[in-house]
């Protein structure tokens, strides 16, 4: 079917293998940064979403709906092209110290990931029996104290598998950062293709690397679930 000469040496050694390796590192950096920052932001949003103050709940709800119902690519373009118009000058100056396309990608991915993490955390919190909160409050703990010391420690354990899943999603989503020139894995594959015309080899290599990452994450999740979440296992 295909009339095409494959040349695998191009991606298994030399300068182009080095490019792919560098790309993988940037991809993992993007995913890790946006997951850690997204977790912090997502935790705040999840707690606001369940707060007893109605306007705070509405605010969190609006944030979640807006972020989840717009494409990540548009959000990346907004932060990369448009944000300087709406941000204060001081913030812009501070952001411009760094490689701006990387910063814009991290901000966009963080905001996007936080919306999904917030929902995971909320499901985790809801999985903790209601009586736990009632008992904690009746002991005289305030809402936030009860959250911090009673509910969250239990919810976090349930939330770990979906959170690791979000890391996988962030890895895949970070491929969109190539559109603003961040030299992550997909970008490097594209570069190799445009320099050598060996697109099939470059994209096969990149695909296999993504698959390796996702396979690793799947194994980690199922190990965690078997060890900590199996009924009758460690509670």
């Amino acid at each position: 079917m295909l009339n095409y000469q494959f040349d695998w040496h191009i991606v298994t050694s030399g300068i182009y293998a080095e490019w792919l390796w560098q790309g993988l590192l940037v991809t993992l950096q993007l995913a890790a940064l946006s997951c850690v920052l997204g977790f912090v932001l997502g935790l705040v949003v999840a707690i606001l979403r369940m707060s007893p103050v109605a306007p705070l709940r509405w605010l969190a709800q609006a944030y979640l709906e807006f972020i989840r119902n717009t494409p990540l690519l548009i959000q990346i373009f907004f932060w990369y092209f448009g944000a300087y118009e709406v941000l204060p000058q001081a913030v812009n100056d501070w952001l411009n110290q760094w490689r701006f396309e990387f910063v814009a990608a991290v901000i966009a991915l963080t905001v996007y990931t936080s919306a999904f993490i917030a929902e995971d955390i909320r499901s985790g919190i809801r999985a903790v029996p209601r009586e736990q909160m009632e008992a904690a409050r009746s002991q005289g703990l305030g809402y936030l104290t009860a959250m911090r010391f009673v509910i969250l420690p239990q919810a976090v354990r349930i939330t770990v598998p979906p959170l690791i899943g979000q890391f996988l999603n962030a890895t895949k989503n970070s491929s969109l950062a190539m559109t603003i020139g961040v030299a992550e894995l997909t970008y490097q594959a594209r570069q190799i293709e445009s320099v050598t015309f060996k697109g099939l080899e470059a994209f096969t290599a990149a695909t296999l690397i993504y698959l390796l990452v996702s396979l690793t994450i799947t194994v980690v999740v199922s190990t965690y679930e078997q060890r900590y979440l199996r009924p009758g296992g460690v509670r």
């Binding site: 079917m1 295909l2 009339n3 095409y4 709906e65 807006f66 989840r68 119902n69 717009t70 494409p71 990540l72 690519l73 548009i74 959000q75 373009f77 907004f78 092209f81 448009g82 944000a83 118009e85 709406v86 996988l168 895949k172 989503n173 491929s175 969109l176 190539m178 559109t179 997909t186 594959a189 594209r190 697109g199 099939l200 994209f203 990149a206 695909t207 993504y210 698959l211 990452v213 996702s214 396979l215």
Partner: protein, 231 residues
């Protein structure tokens, strides 16, 4: 904030150069999403049912396929189609079809997951009763299990349509003039109002996707009332 850049280019955002040129903008976004979703639904049903056939190599193949598709970014699949389709057909393939093929292959894997969950949600009693009345296994699947499973899964299908609508924005990378591509074009031409342009485009996507999300939630409530499917 100055939104005249939007009002000046409004029809361009909505339908591209149509009727003087190819359809583009919001109209093309919706077209790509709907066509891909219909194909992906068919693909998902085929894959979902195939994973229940008593033929092990086929089941492995389906599992391998869904794992691969769910493990790589959609952008990869789009590039694959971009390189492979012309080689396979030995002639240039229109960009619209490159994107529809990629979205279909990619989304089918997610649809297959939904279909499987749907099949599992049908009580085993249904299957046993159907077999006991003398139906062949394929008849049990086609006339008893699938119709109930698909009905249970309608809200998930609508959610998947939301994802596909968002995913069509990646078509921009191979030069399909859907909404995102139009937005970058207008932005490159004007250069002065990027925030307005991308906020407007985000709002357009939001209106489409949020309506569909609400539809899915409504269907979920609606379909779970007083019906005899779920035990």
């Amino acid at each position: 904030m100055d939104f005249t850049v939007i009002t000046d280019n409004f029809t361009y955002f909505m339908i591209g150069r149509y009727p003087h040129g190819a359809l583009g903008g919001v109209a093309l976004t919706l077209y790509l999403a709907l066509v891909s979703c219909v194909f992906a639904l068919m693909g998902g049903v085929i894959l979902g049912v195939a994973s229940y056939l008593p033929f092990r190599p086929l089941r492995w193949l389906v599992r391998g396929y869904t794992h691969v598709m769910r493990g790589v970014p959609l952008l990869m699949v789009i590039f694959w189609m971009y390189f492979l389709l012309p080689l396979a057909f030995k002639q240039p393939v229109p960009e619209n079809w490159t994107v529809i093929a990629a979205l279909t292959l990619f989304t089918s894997a997610y649809m297959a997951h939904i279909v499987r969950a749907g099949i599992e949600s049908v009580p085993t009693g249904q299957r046993e009763a159907a077999l006991a009345t003398g139906l062949q296994p394929w008849q049990v699947m086609a006339y008893v299990v699938l119709p109930q499973a698909l009905r249970n899964m309608i809200p998930s299908f609508v959610n998947e349509l939301v994802s596909v609508t968002k995913d069509t924005s990646l078509a921009f990378i191979v030069g399909v003039s859907e909404l995102t591509h139009i937005a970058t074009q207008v932005n490159n031409r004007e250069l002065t109002h990027p925030a307005e342009i991308f906020l407007f485009v985000a709002a357009v996507y939001f209106v489409i996707c949020f309506s569909l999300t609400q539809l899915s939630r409504w269907l979920e409530r609606r379909l779970s009332w007083g019906e005899g499917v779920r035990n």
